[in-house]
Amino acid sequence: MTPAFRTVNEGWLFQQLRWRQLRNTTSIVFGSSRIRLISIALCSLLVAGFVGGVSWAGFRELEQRQIFFAGAIIGLLFDFLFLSLGVMLFFSTGIIVYSSLFHSPETAFLLSTPARADHVFAYKFQTAIAFSSWAFVLLGLPILVAYGVVYAVSWHFFVLLPLFLLGFVLLPAAGGSVASLLIVNFVPQRRKQVLVGAGLLVFAASVWWGYHVVRSSGELMTGNRSALEDLFGWLKFARNPYMPGHWMTRGLQMSASGELGAAAMPLALIWSNGLFAYLLATAVARRLYRRGFNRIATGSSLRRRYGGAWFDRCLGGLLWCLDRQTTLLIIKDVRTFRRDPAQWAQLLIFLSLGLVYIANSRQFFTQEIGQSFAQGVSLMNLCATAMLICAFMGRFVFPMMSLEGRRFWILGLLPMRRERLLWGKFYFAAAGAIIVAEGLVLAGDIVLGVGATALGLHVVTVAMLALGLSGLSVGLGATMPNFRETDPSKIAVGFGGTLNLIAGLLYLLLIIALMAAPYHVLIMLKMNPMLDVGHVAMVSAGVAAGLLVGLAAVVIPLRMGIRTLREMEF
């Protein structure tokens, strides 16, 4: 008997699929991973609270100083904020849509069913928006709420805010998705080069533009009126009436002042253009998605040659002091990392941002800065660098052991002691972290002109941070591996990854509190770069205690990891 068929509403079907998966995941998370859920919520609250707090202080400063043109400056800041967030959303959604449409087993499965290409695209587009706008909400919302609180704006502002934010996400996300579909269809073999080229171009333009904006902002603090005109000039692009970011600024300012009718126009502009862009993207997908899927699968040769043997030889030479097996394991890890653009691209972006921050930190101040202030800023730089290493360790090093996954039996059967595997990963992580973190902190300290003692203390503190965080991430990564998962970002946000992140944060707070903070606090209190004998003894005791804690952070997790590895069955 032939089964009875009905017309399929694919949109509804995909919503139902999403809802079922969400329901099942939520019940699992609430049932078994409450710590993970609480950690994620707390971390999100911490980030949102920090951003909100800093914004609140900034807006309050503007309000209390009663700066002339304060409203225009805030408008300028909003234009800049929405332009930056728009560019970030364009790239992040484009990349997520690209990987979920062309490199996911789910879409390969869906394309072999009667599901229409535009419906599959719409389903993945909505998921990508949810992922990419998470950071947008986490960063954008606290800033805007802080503005609303400080200026005691009309309640309309708070009601309309989510509508403005939701509508704004659509436009850059649709733009990024169309760009990824076009790249895959028309330059399938050079898609990575196009992406890297576009990224570098945007980065270079942002650095150049950001440099001038920051310089003008710095001069603005001295009360120079022409600096304000300069700043407006540099931000003219963001203030263009055709820029969606400017619609957001206008709409939010109107709703803040309670002018509902005037706020409706920008809101309508944002939503109508966003929905139109979404429709346009689905129309492009209807024509180009399957074609692109075919082109990306067949655009290049089946076999791909990978070079870089000279790099591995150089690395092998540099690691002459290690035994042969450990060297080979490190080279394997470096090779795997090098051949995964998703991994090193993230590292590169964060490092570049760190360097830009360090290079520009002095540009804010046109006059000579006090020693006490320099000490405070250098301690803040040290904390920022420590947080950066902690995040890198959680994201890149903790998942390394789990990523051996189903291949673990290869390593497990090798004629070597299993702990070598851990030591190899530890050396790899620690060496990378020491080079990067020492570079960032030294550059910041030199720019700020802190004394030799602070510089020396920072070098030792950063070394202990790098070693301890490497030990924690490698050791805990081996103690709590997740061999079922192949995506490192998912391993990093799992239970083990979250625990590692919390342990790392506690460790870095402890090390900074013991090794660096006492010196800076004493200097700031005394307003004198010279310490007396009692204070020197106090700082030295802190450093010694820090060294002991660092040693424990290396030895204990690695021993736990080694024990787990020895007992591991595969």
């Binding site: 032939t2 089964p3 009905r6 789910e106 067949t298």
Partner: protein, 246 residues
């Protein structure tokens, strides 16, 4: 039911499938054999509309896959060598999703889900999340989903990997039943004993070219060998390799 007409497929400079012409009738169980990298999976992906031929045409149920793919896919069920399941759905929810995707109405979908659950003995785990399934359980669930809408064309890539002997026997019986019902089965596998037992016709592909096609008897004649399918397969592929090197 399945027609490939002078199909070529290139990956960059490498030719994966070269001038392939095949006609497979309704109710036929056609086995597609070839060494690793011969072009079997590429051919299958073109038959499902996941890839498009560089030249030539692929038609399924009379529909051109390049222009009427959505209509053709309504007739097809494709079981890849690595089946996909949503980890956060139960087996039953997955079966329901597939039934809905192919437009089975409420009563029919419930009846069919019960039927395939019994047929593939899924009852013990069908309400568990699929992330907890073993490879064999996943294979059986995916196979069950493939038969829900009673496809006219069943395309199967390496179906026996990870199945226990009893499940393999059941699978063979199901394939035989499907062909009796008029379903066209396109089977790609390295298990030559299954092919020898089930296939009405066998195609052998080597380096993208079809080097033999017909019944086991006709392939034996072509190889000038009265042996098993394994011996015939090895002889034909070795000859083709030698010819290619010459």
């Amino acid at each position: 039911m399945i027609e490939l007409h002078h199909v070529c497929k290139r990956y960059g400079t490498k030719t994966a499938v070269e001038d392939l012409t095949l006609n497979i009738a309704a109710g036929e169980l056609f086995a597609f054999l070839g060494p690793n990298g011969a072009g079997k999976t590429t051919t299958i992906k073109m038959m499902c509309g996941l890839l498009f031929p560089t030249s030539g045409t692929v038609r399924v149920g009379g529909f051109d896959m390049a222009r009427q793919g959505d209509a053709a896919r309504q007739l097809i069920s494709y079981l890849p060598d690595v089946p996909y399941l949503y980890d956060k759905l139960t087996g039953r929810e997955f079966l329901q999703f597939i039934a809905d995707m192919y437009g089975l109405n409420g009563d029919t979908s419930r009846r069919k889900i019960d039927e395939v659950t019994t047929m593939f003995e899924l009852a013990d785990f069908v309400d568990d999340l699929t992330e907890r399934y073993s490879h064999g359980m996943r294979q059986r669930t995916v196979f069950a989903s493939a038969l829900l809408h009673e496809p006219q064309v069943l395309i199967v890539d390496e179906p026996t990997v990870g199945l226990d002997p009893a499940s393999v026997r059941k699978l063979k019986n199901i394939l035989i039943d499907q062909t009796k019902k008029g379903t066209t089965v396109f089977l790609s596998t390295h298990s030559l004993d299954i092919v020898q037992e089930l296939a009405s016709r066998i195609g052998i592909i080597h380096q993208g070219r079809l080097i033999g096609c017909g019944s086991l008897e006709s392939l034996r004649k072509q190889a000038a060998l009265q042996g098993s399918l394994e011996e015939v397969f090895l002889k034909l592929t070795e000859e083709a390799a030698a010819e290619g090197n010459a």
